[in-house]
């Protein structure tokens, strides 16, 4: 029963039930630009999901290395929304607590910023993320940051939208509603 519920959890997105139709052809992994860095290729991950290997799947780095390029999605002969399934696996891994802050930290800082200001200021964010999680690499990044600053491409303070309270109310309600889609 537990196995079945993991598959259902993964499939709980629009079009997700197509996952059952996977024929293990490997078009996804062959198309994946970050495949070499993954613990398991997308094809392997789908076999593992269908086999109910919840923990192994959610503890793997595969979906965190998905760059959301949609090559697999358009090439899948079974029309499985693979990229969206990768997003779903990210959410499930976060819910299960299987992640490291250096990986989800970027998404979380980004979302935190959006919820505070309504807009993101990507490079201020990137700097903050780097300093927190890769302090040594920050030194090597400094020429890049300097270049961005001198060309006026780096903002230090994000703009706050006027309707920030309205946006927060909407997001709060959406979180309360939650649910699977």
């Amino acid at each position: 029963m537990a196995e079945k519920s993991f598959l259902e959890e993964v499939m709980a997105i629009p079009g997700g039930e197509r996952l059952r139709a996977c024929i293990q052809c490997g078009s996804c992994g062959g198309s994946c630009p970050s495949g070499p860095a993954m613990d398991y290729t997308p094809r392997e991950i789908f076999a593992m999901i269908l086999a109910g290997m919840r923990e192994e799947v959610l503890k793997s780095n595969t979906f965190w290395f998905c760059v959301s390029c949609y090559y697999c999605t358009i090439r899948c002969p079974q029309e499985i929304p693979i990229t969206d399934i990768m997003y779903q696996l990210k959410r499930l891994a976060i819910q299960a607590g299987y992640y490291t802050a250096s990986i989800t930290g970027f998404s979380e800082t980004f979302v935190g910023q959006v919820e505070t200001y309504g807009r993101s200021f990507e490079l201020g964010l990137a700097t903050g993320h780097y300093l927190r999680h890769h302090p040594l690499q920050s030194i090597r990044m400094s020429p890049l940051m300097l270049g961005m600053v001198t060309r006026g491409r780096m903002s230090f303070t994000p703009k706050r939208i006027q309707g920030i309270r309205q946006l927060r109310a909407i997001l709060r309600r959406a979180k309360e509603l939650g649910g699977a889609w």
Binding site: S68, F106, S107, E108
Partner: protein, 327 residues
């Protein structure tokens, strides 16, 4: 005069201001009126959908709800913004339960969005679909003669909902040719730039960026031309990092297609955001100001054998070659 709602998105406010400035300038020449969505918020990029689904949809739906009621189309120059709006509208339309939940969330902010009311379109799509190449060509005052360019689309401009060929798009190439440029057959045109991978795993990200730069350098292009601020940032701002990582010496300016249109339309480079790129485009402007004599361009020999389909350099060969280039 064509009117569209306009969603600039966070990148275009600062980091990709060159894209915003050049798109607005080009739109004016084409007779496009851009009505900015009042008090728009961030679309969540690829981050919000990784964390929490319903708030991610609600975030995007607030922007759609704020589109003035007389406008049916919203144009976004950023590929992620364009696709998030398209995906939200499409999924709300296809899944009434989702639409109801999103609207229940929006109601907390006294807003409502009827799925199907606003259609999201990418800036490149609007330019090449709503205007014929003849119409665009009629605005060309200073052809980009002598400039050798590669069109680079990246991912979501093309997939999964783009209107060009998924595997081998060619609209930007036709546009750049109309502007008078020499356009190379860049087979990695729709490959991924790595998106936010620079933040997660630099090694993987640099390898992806290096692959794109290496193959563009092989084609001896004067510039890569893109339609996405994420692609521009990765290929331009991280080019120095990639060079020091792989011991290479790439100097390939990465520009927006709207900047190239503006140049060809005779607009001043300063008004098109030139100078904001990290890898200087000064040599591109130099060449543009001093085009080669007409006949020389016409007689130029093709640099590649035309015996088969063009292929990118295999990854293994790229790595081998780069190793030999290491300082």
């Amino acid at each position: 005069m064509r009117r569209y709602a306009y969603y600039p998105g966070c990148s275009l406010e600062r980091n990709a201001a060159a894209y915003d400035e050049s798109f607005r300038a080009v739109a004016e020449v084409l007779g496009i009126e851009l009505v900015e969505i009042p008090d728009w918020n961030c679309c969540g990029a690829t981050e919000y959908f990784s964390l929490d689904l319903l708030p991610a949809y609600a975030l995007v739906a607030r922007n759609l709800a704020l589109v003035p009621p007389d406008l049916k189309e919203v144009v976004a120059p950023c590929s992620a913004c364009y696709y998030n709006m398209l995906k939200t509208d499409k999924n709300m339309l296809a899944h009434p339960k989702l639409a109801a939940a999103v609207n229940e969330a929006l109601a907390a902010g006294k807003l409502h969005y009827d799925p199907g009311r606003v259609h999201s379109r990418h800036a490149l799509e609007v330019v090449v679909e709503d205007f014929s190449l003849e119409e665009i060509g009629a605005h060309v005052k200073a052809p980009l003669r002598g400039l050798r360019l590669a069109a680079y689309y990246g991912c979501v401009t093309v997939r999964p909902e783009g209107r060009d060929n998924f595997e081998y798009p060619s609209r930007m190439e036709r546009l750049l040719e109309t502007l008078g440029a020499e356009v190379v057959d860049y087979t990695l045109r729709a490959n991924c730039c790595g998106g936010h991978m620079t933040q997660l795993d630099a090694e993987t990200a640099y390898r992806m960026i290096h692959y794109l730069l290496y193959n563009a350098a092989k084609l001896e292009v004067d510039a890569l031309v893109t339609a996405c601020p994420m692609c521009q940032l990765n290929l331009d701002a991280y080019q120095g990092q990639v060079n020091s990582h792989f011991g290479t010496d790439f100097h390939i300016p990465v520009l927006y297609f709207t900047q190239m249109m503006g140049l060809a339309f005779g607009l001043e480079p300063e008004k098109l955001g030139f100078g904001q790129e990290i890898v200087s485009a000064e040599r591109v402007l130099e060449k543009f100001r001093n085009p080669p004599p007409e006949e020389e361009t016409a007689e130029r020999k093709p640099r590649r054998e035309r015996t088969g389909l063009p292929m990118p350099e295999p990854l293994a060969a790229v790595q081998r070659d780069s190793a030999s280039l290491r300082r």
